[in-house]
Every structure is written in structure tokens, then in C-alpha cells.
């Protein structure tokens, strides 16, 4: 007797089911964010009213610390995972709303400055990461991924490059782990350096946006310093992200010329496909704000909406960072990433200092 297996078509859950499944995790994200906000207020109250010696910790840092504590101790239960994964939607929503806090003149001036600085940073960081990859004998495609991730836009850029340069799956996950690990370190080291150097909010925000790889971590690193710094970190990071297509295309052409990746037929289409579209939303809201489409109180509402959208995103950054996962990928990619990041952070700090001492209005 022959047995025949009847294939059961894989069913994708319906949209209402998928939305329902995200609710516990979304609740957790907002719960942690609101707890962070409450802790900030409580600490301030205790310090001011009862003169207790307590540190001033912003809700941003509370949200991340609480998220980190959960993900690295009890872990995130399965029921919460679909909702926690929505943190990227909240992050991008927050960035689009932040457009209301920038007039187009600012976007063009500061964004233009960012683009100039990004171009310099790109050339230097791609060269240094490639050199470090060779010194530490990393696989060439892993080196390419680390260079793309650290010079442009972290995980998004690595994912964009994955289809174009066709690395091994292990190389992609190692590069992502290294970028996330280094982003987690930046959350705590950048504000310390910024305070030690008495950096202004705008200069610090620009530095965070130019040097911290992943959009989420760059936004948080800015917001931990101050609200204004967070805003400028978003602007600088957005300018940097707009380069994704060009860098990935460069690597795709390079690997195709070596016969180790598919040839890119339509380069203009490739650039458009890799361009992060949420930037268009950010620009659209900024244009509306500039042309007087909104009244001043309405702009305040949009600005507050961006804060509400960032609240669960910050909690998500902590929840999705599992330090054990990140460390267990071998030391060499981390060392290459770490040395490269120190270089990028130093160079961008120098660039920002130079720019702000040469006539850039604050």
C-alpha cells in the first residue's frame, strides 16, 4: 500500500486575527513606556518635594532599562512577540510626526549639512571597515555587510543588502547581531561623552544621528540626552538613511562584477526600491507644517503624537535586545564592529565640532 501525503496549503491568518495577536505585545510596549513616564515623574517628585538624592532619569532611559531587564531575565513570552515586533511601526510613525517639528528651511539647511557630513563619514567608514575586515580575516561578504550596516543605517541597510549581494544567512545574522550590540553600547556611552564635552543639544543630536547605526538606537541615543537632541538625531539619521540605495547598489555592482551576485539590470529602479519610503512621509508633514496647513496648537498636537508614538518604540528597543544572543556570535565581527564604530564616532564628533565652529547656526 502506498501512502500519499496530501499537501495542506499553508494558511495565513486573516487580518483581524493578526491584529488581535499583536494586542498583548502592543499593550506591553505601551505599559512599559507609561511605567517609564510614571517613574520619571515619581523620581522628580521625590527629589523636589522630599529632597531625596535620586538621579534624574528620563522616561526614555526607564523604558529601555525596563525592556532590557525583562528580555534578559524572564524573557519575552510568546504571546507578546507579535506585538513587540510592531515597535518598528511605532518608530517610523514617530519619525513621520517629527516632520511637524521641522520647517522645510531647517530640513534643507540641517539636512543638507547632514548630507555633506554623511558623504565624508561614508567614505571613511566604508574604507576603515573594509580594512579592519581584512586585518581580522572576516569573510568578505560579512565585511561588506558590517561596512554597510555601520556606515549607513544598521539593520535596514543590512536587510536591503541581503538580496543584492547574496551573503550566507549566518553572515547576515552575525552582522545584524554586531550592529545591534554596538547600538546598545551607544545608548549608554554617547550621552556620557556628550555631557562630558558639554555638547549643545543640536550638535549632540547631529552626532548621534550620524554615528549610531540603527535608526531606533540613534533616535533613543538622541532622546536620552534631551527632547531637542532626539529631534536632530532623527533628522541627521533620516538624511543618512537616504543614502542606503547608493551604497547597497555600489556593493551589488562590486559583487556582481566578481560573479558572486546577480547583475543589477535597472539601477534607477533599484535605488527607488531601496529608498526608505517613510522619509517621504516625514518630508510631507514638514512641507505641510511649513506652508501653514496647521495652526500652532495643531502643530503642538502632532509634535505630542510623535512623543506618544516613540513611547512604545523605546520600550521595544529594550525588549528586543538580548545580550546573550548578541555576544554568542564569535568575537571577531564584534571587535571589527567595535573598532570601526569608535573610529566613526570619533570622526563624526570631529566633523560636527568643526561644522558648529564654522558658522552653522544652532
Amino acid at each position: 500500500m502506498s501512502t500519499q501525503t496530501i499537501p495542506i496549503p499553508a494558511t495565513t491568518p486573516s487580518l483581524p486575527t493578526r491584529i488581535l495577536r499583536t494586542l498583548p505585545g502592543v499593550g506591553l510596549l505601551f505599559g512599559i513606556g507609561l511605567l517609564g513616564k510614571t517613574l520619571e515623574h515619581t523620581f522628580t517628585l521625590l527629589r523636589v518635594r522630599y529632597h531625596l538624592f535620586l538621579p534624574q532619569i528620563e522616561y526614555v532611559l526607564w523604558a529601555i532599562l525596563l525592556g532590557l531587564l525583562i528580555s534578559n531575565t524572564i524573557g519575552v513570552a510568546r504571546i507578546f512577540r507579535p506585538g513587540v515586533a510592531t515597535y518598528e511601526l511605532w518608530l517610523k510613525l514617530g519619525i513621520v510626526f517629527v516632520g511637524a517639528r521641522f520647517l522645510m528651511q531647517d530640513v534643507l539647511q540641517i539636512g543638507g549639512l547632514s548630507l555633506g557630513l554623511v558623504a565624508v563619514e561614508l567614505i571613511l567608514s566604508l574604507s576603515v571597515m573594509t580594512l579592519l575586515g581584512r586585518i581580522f580575516k572576516l569573510p568578505p561578504k560579512l565585511t561588506s555587510l558590517l561596512a554597510i550596516g555601520s556606515s549607513i543605517c544598521g539593520v535596514t541597510a543590512i536587510m536591503a543588502a541581503q538580496g543584492a549581494i547574496e551573503p550566507e544567512e549566518e553572515e547576515t545574522s552575525t552582522a545584524i547581531a554586531a550592529i545591534l550590540m554596538l547600538g546598545a553600547l551607544a545608548l549608554f556611552t554617547f550621552p556620557a561623552v556628550g555631557h562630558a564635552l558639554h555638547m549643545g543639544d543640536q550638535a549632540y543630536g547631529m552626532w548621534a544621528g550620524l554615528a549610531v547605526d540603527n535608526t531606533a538606537e540613534a533616535t533613543v541615543t538622541g532622546a536620552i540626552y534631551s527632547d531637542t537632541a532626539g529631534r536632530f538625531a532623527v533628522l541627521a539619521k533620516t538624511a543618512r538613511s537616504s543614502f542606503i540605495g547608493f551604497v547597497v547598489l555600489g556593493y551589488a555592482v562590486y559583487w556582481a562584477s566578481k560573479g558572486k551576485a546577480a547583475v543589477v539590470e535597472n539601477k534607477a529602479l533599484f535605488l527607488w526600491e531601496k529608498f526608505p519610503k517613510f522619509i517621504l512621509g516625514f518630508l510631507a508633514i514638514s512641507v505641510m507644517a511649513t506652508t501653514g496647513f496647521f495652526t500652532a496648537p495643531q502643530l503642538t498636537s502632532l509634535s505630542n503624537l510623535s512623543r506618544w508614538a516613540f513611547l512604545p518604540a523605546f520600550a521595544g528597543v529594550g525588549l528586543r535586545t538580548n545580550l546573550r544572543d548578541l555576544v554568542g556570535r564569535g568575537w571577531r565581527p564584534l571587535v571589527v564592529g567595535f573598532l570601526g564604530e569608535i573610529f566613526i564616532a570619533t570622526v563624526t564628533l570631529g566633523l560636527v565640532y568643526w561644522s558648529y565652529n564654522h558658522g552653522v547656526p544652532r
Binding site: 517610523k92 536587510m159 517613510f278 510631507a284 508633514i285 496648537p297 506618544w308 528586543r320 538580548n322
Partner: protein, 39 residues
């Protein structure tokens, strides 16, 4: 927590959803359908 990183296609969906939600809220605020939002 196991990390699942959205592919470029999935990121496009997230981007468009974020823009769509933002525009809906911007419209609701512009035409005073939503009250002023506080922080």
C-alpha cells in the same frame, strides 16, 4: 527573544502603513475632529 528582522518588502509595508496612519491623524487634527493632544 528571537529576533525577526523584516525583509525589504515587509519594511515597505511598515513604511506605507506609518505614512497612512500619520496622514489620517494629521487630517483629523487639521479639521479639528480630534481634540488637542497633550503629552
Amino acid at each position: 527573544m528571537a529576533h525577526e528582522h523584516p525583509s525589504t518588502a515587509a519594511q515597505l509595508k511598515i513604511d506605507l502603513l506609518a505614512i497612512g496612519i500619520a496622514m489620517v491623524f494629521a487630517g483629523l487634527i487639521r479639521f479639528n475632529i480630534l481634540p488637542l493632544i497633550k503629552w
